[in-house]
Structure formats: structure tokens, C-alpha cells
Amino acid sequence: MFMYIVVLSFLLLSLLLYALLGGADFGAGVIQLLSTTPKAEKVIGRAIGPIWEANHMWLVIAVVISFMGFPAIFKVVSTALHIPVFILLLGIIFRGTAYAFKHYDAIKDEKSQLMYHRVFVWGSLVSTLFIGITFGAMSLGKIDPNAADFYTGYIAPWFNFFSISVGFLTTALFAFLAAVYLIGENEDPEVKDFFIAKAWKWLLASVAIGIVVFVAAYVDGLPLFNELISSPLSMLAIGFAAGSLPLMFSTIRKGKVVLARLMAGAQTVLILGAWLLLHYPHAIMLSNGGSLDLYDSRAPDATLAVLGWALLLGSLFILPALGYLYVVFKGHGPEESI
């Protein structure tokens, strides 16, 4: 039981860190979707350059924990949600390589830079959208492992109003996170204003899409609102998230960098936390009204024991090294790459 908790905590921790750190990397692409400036582009490049490979590893860790620790869940997600996960992978491929190519291309001509930029931005959008769709689909309850036809088995679980609106919510939240982080990455007032404006817009978008998610849940027959009311802790989390919005607005407007970052991070944690609390111990809701539960889907004890130890020992190495990386490149990224 103890190791089950260790393993589960690491799974949640890596998902959370992926949302907070990797999510911001994706968001940095998304905020450039509508408009960008050469200066802002430069700040973004410098801010995520040294750390994006590390941020992105949290996803791989989460995948490994799920197939080793919760194999039945991994199987159902990768079967029923094969299509959205595959599209997510395409997004990750295009975004990751376009980013690297853009920065390490030896000849920085306008034409190819523009091409990399476009692929980076659109790849970021696709990735965030499909991360959200996948998670939305897990909680909606249209997954049917015994489906007889292709549509109910592989399309219906995720191609619906609710999952897609969760996809957009994820996109907006990640973009918001990125904008808030980036405000403090540069002293130039012009760039600061650019990111402050972006943070505002994406915060508004998140709130608006958040409301749509509730409507979509209603339309798709998910009693999200009732579930929320019956879970006091989730209510509290969402209440905090919503209640802190005015304060959030004012810190962003005043450009209080550290506070805004902390609050934006906390917002994300609260929303994810509320979602988890609502669902625990269910990991996947099925179309017959049943669910796949975390505890029931766990691997045998011997596996959880070694996995737990591997994670505990691993974090002894990772956390200090990661800390050093952030300290070295904190605030101001390197002036030139290499």
C-alpha cells in the first residue's frame, strides 16, 4: 500500500510538473499564434532553450509509470484513445524538431526561419489541444473497450463537445501560464507589455472556455456540476481558483512578476487538483457507467516496490541537477546559443 501511494504520487507529480513546465513551453508557442514580435520571439527562444528537453521528460516518466504501475489503464487509453494520442505525438514531433531546427540552423535566412516558426506555433496548438482532448475523454465516460464498431470504439470516446472543449481549455491555460512566466524574462518594457497583454487575453479566454466546458459536460451527459457540488474539496479548489482571479488581474497589471508566476502556477494546480479529487479513485470512466480504478488496475506488489524505489532514488539525482539548471539560467537566458 505504501509503495502504491509512492508510485501514484510520482505519477501525479510528473503530470503536474509536465503541465506547469512543459505546458508553459507549449503555451509559449500558442501565444504566438495570433501575433508576435521579433523581440518577443527572441525572449521566448532564450527562455525555453536550455530547459525544454528536461521539461519534456516529465511526460516520458508519466508514460513509464503508467505502463509499469497501472498497465490496465495504459492499455485502455492507448487502445480507445489511439487516434488522439497519435495526433498528439505528431504535434510533439513537429513542435520539438521545429524548435530545435529554428535555433540550430547554421544559416538563419528569413524564409526557413518563418517556416520553422509556423510549424512550431501550429505544432504547439495541436499538442495542447490533444493533451486536453485525451484527458477530457478519460473522464467523460464514452470509452467502451468491447465496442462492436469503429465509431463507438475509436472515435466517439474523444470526438465530442466535452473532450474538445477540455482541449481548448488546456490550450488557453497553458498559453496563460506561458505568458505570465515570460513577463519576467526580460526588462524591455515593450516586451513586458506584450506578454502582459497576452496574459490578460488568455486568462479571459480560459475563464470563458471554462464555462463552456460546464455547458459541454451538460450537453454530453456528464453531471460535472452535480459531481462538483457533492465534492466539497473540489468545490473549495475551484472556489479558490475563481476567487483569486481579481487578485490575479491586478498583479498582472502591475507586472508583479514573482507573485503572478506563483499565482498562475497555483491556479493550474487548483484546477488539476479539483479534477483529480472529483475523479479519484477512478482513472477512466467507461460507457457502461463503470470505471477503471487506479487501485484495482495497479501492478503486482513486487513491481510497485521496485518502481517506487527507482523513482525515489531517481529523484535524488534529478532534483538537485534540475535545480542547478534552473539556477544557472534563471530569469535571464543565455545571450547567445552556444
Partner: protein, 459 residues
Amino acid sequence: MGDLLAARLQMAFSLGFHIIFACVGMAMPFLMAIAHWRYIKTGDAVYKDLSKAWSKGVAIFFATGAVSGTVLSFELGLLWPEFMEHAGPIFGMPFSLEGTAFFIEAIALGLFLYGWGKIPKWIHWSSGLVVGISGVASGILVVAANAWMNSPTGFDYDPLTNTYSNIDPIAAMFNPAWFTQALHMILAAFTATGFAVAGVHAFLLIRKPANRFHQQAMRIALLVGGIAAFLQPISGDISAKDVAVRQPAKLAAMEAHFHTEEYAGLLIGGIPNEETGEVHYGIKIPGLLSFLAHGDFKQEVVGLDQIPEDERPPVAVTHFAFQIMVGAGTFLMMVAFLYFFAQRFRPRWLGHKNFLWLVALSTPLGMLAVEAGWTVTEVGRQPWIINGIMRTKEAVTPMPGIQYSFYTVVVVYTLLAVLVSWLMKRQVQTLAQNYDSMDEEIDLSQNKANTKTEVIEEL
């Protein structure tokens, strides 16, 4: 195209793509560390430039390796959900440790690429080395997972109820095949990367034979690749002995050895006919297969006739792949021998056009051997995904239409491969304008630099 075939091809294509970047990710940091170390020791700017120029290329390779690896970790589930549900808890151990190795690698890489002039020089140098060490560690770990598929241990299996019990992930990780496979793979990464890098610089030297930058680059790469190429056939022999015991069907397919016999001969070349069990146009060296497989010329070697028909791997593919690997390995070993000989006794040969052409032509051979070697291992295990326990066709996803994701993967990866090559070309084009030491010429008759730049710059 059937779904099973599409899934197998997609897996093979994705892995075959990733392995190239993985090899570079394992070996290249060491080449850079050698150059970097020589710079710190001698202050000779050519080594600093070399290390920087290489690291720019490596950054592109790393990003591509990281995304293609991420794709693989999902593909295991997307394509083989049934396999992962049972195998995940058993063979997941090395993957979970690999997570740590990747993390450290990614962090150290960030420090190395962006750390010039920002962090103390020895920490900077060590961060480069750490990239290489953790790359090799992750290579060993992931191959241990693959070795488990060849020699599954660490659990009890009941075929009647299809249940896996008494799971011991540590025993599964240290399965009987992990060491020989990991050793052979790591050597392969150094051979393949060393010769690929040396080949590119040799090619550039053909045009500018006196260029010091390319001279030094080629030498460092040949040193590393050459040592590995020497050890490779020894390790390959250990692998073959191991396969003979653990997977006789694979060995028989590698050698197109249809009939069980004593004094079994080693087949060189030849076109096997799986229907009739005959081999045409091959040369057979009597007794050698018995010796190589079991260390005894007269010992019996199991042929395909002793393997039930529905458990025989595809013979032609396995055999051709094995021939390609061994052929390439033998050739590279001879090039390595020539290099070490010339280095010691005939330094002038190293600048000779013929030698440079030889090295240039070896550029793809190491990578080719890696691809061929994996084809041997993986196709030679068929029809099993877990040797003797689960068949590949039982493991495949129930989702229809896998050929479309296969086509997509082929198109996307081909595009990426073209782009990466194009980017490398652009790196080479701009070398001269980025690095002053590129213009230094070396006096061929003395084999020594005649212009040595003073280095005032701090690291």
C-alpha cells in the same frame, strides 16, 4: 496491408529511425569531450572550434532523438497494448531507471550547450561527459528491456489461464541476454558514429587535404570508432554463442541452417529457399558454424527442421541482414586496422586520397550494420514478441486501419531525415565563416601545424 504487418512495419520504421539518433546521442558526447579536453590541455583553438561545431550538430540530433524516443514510448501501447499490459509490470524496470538517465542527460545537455563562458570550465567539461555517460546508461537499460523479450525471465507463466505470476522485475532486467546484447549495442554505437563522423570529415578533406580542422576531427572519430570496430566482432561472437543456446531458431535462420547436423558449416552469402530448404550460391566452410556457435567443431547445431513449422522465423530476411552486418563489421575492422597501422608506421598515408576515399565510403556502413543487426534480433525472434510466451499476432492492437498511421510515420520521418541532412549540410557550409581555425593548414610532410593560434580567450 494487414494490420499486423502494418504495426510491425511501423514499429520497425520508428525504431530504425530512433536508433540512428540514439547512437549519435551515445557516442558523440565522447568525441566532443575528447576535443574539448585537448583544448583545455593544449589551448589549441582548433579543438575548441571542433567541440563547438560538433555540439551544434549534436543539438539537432538530440532534439530529433528525444521526440522519436517519446513517440516510441507511446507506440509500445498504441501498437502492442496486449503485450504491454502483461509485459509492462515485468520488463518496465529498466525503462523506469532510464527515465532518470534521460533526465540527467537532458539537464547536462542544457548546461553543455548553453554553458560556454557561463559556468566554470571543468563543470562545463564534465557536463559534456555526463551527457555521454547517461546516454550510454540509457542505451544499456533499453537494450536490457529488449533482451528480456528474447530471453524472458522473472515470472511464471501459465499457458492454460494465460496468467503471469511471481513477478520479479529485477530478475527480468538482469535476464540472461542483457549483458551480451548491451555490450554489443554500445560498441555498435561507437563504431557507427565514429565512422560516420570520420567519413564526413574525410570527404571534406578530399577537397582540402591540408585542412587541420578536418584532420583532427577525422582522427578523433577514427580513434573512437576504430577501437570499437576492433572489439565488435569479438562481442558479436559472444552474442552468437549466446543465441545458439537461448534461441536456436534465430541462429538457424541467421545461418539459413535448415538441417540439424554435426560439423555444421558456416554459410557465407547464398540465397536461401524457405520452401525447399535449400541454399543456392553460398560458400560453406565446414565445421565452422559448430565451432562459432558452441566452441567445438563437431558439435551438433540445431537446424530449422527441429523447429515446429509455425515457430520458424523468416529465413531470408534474417540471413541477409546477418550477412550485411558481418560484412560491414569485417570491412570496418580492416579500415580500423589500416588506420592504426598508418598512424604508427606510415603517417603520410593518412593524407592520401585513397585512404580518405576509403574512410569516406565507410560513412554509412556502421549505421547500416546497426540496422541490419536489429533486423536479425527482431525478425529472428518472430513469430514471438515474448520469446516462447506470447506471439506477435496476439499482442497487436485491435484497432483497424493501422496502415494509415504507418504511412503517416513513414512520410513524417522521411521528411525529418531529409531536413536533418539538409541542416547538417548547412552547418558544414558555414564552418569557414564561423571558425577561424578552419583556415589553418597543416604541413603534410611534417604532420604538424605550422600556424598555431594563441588562445587568450577564457573558456
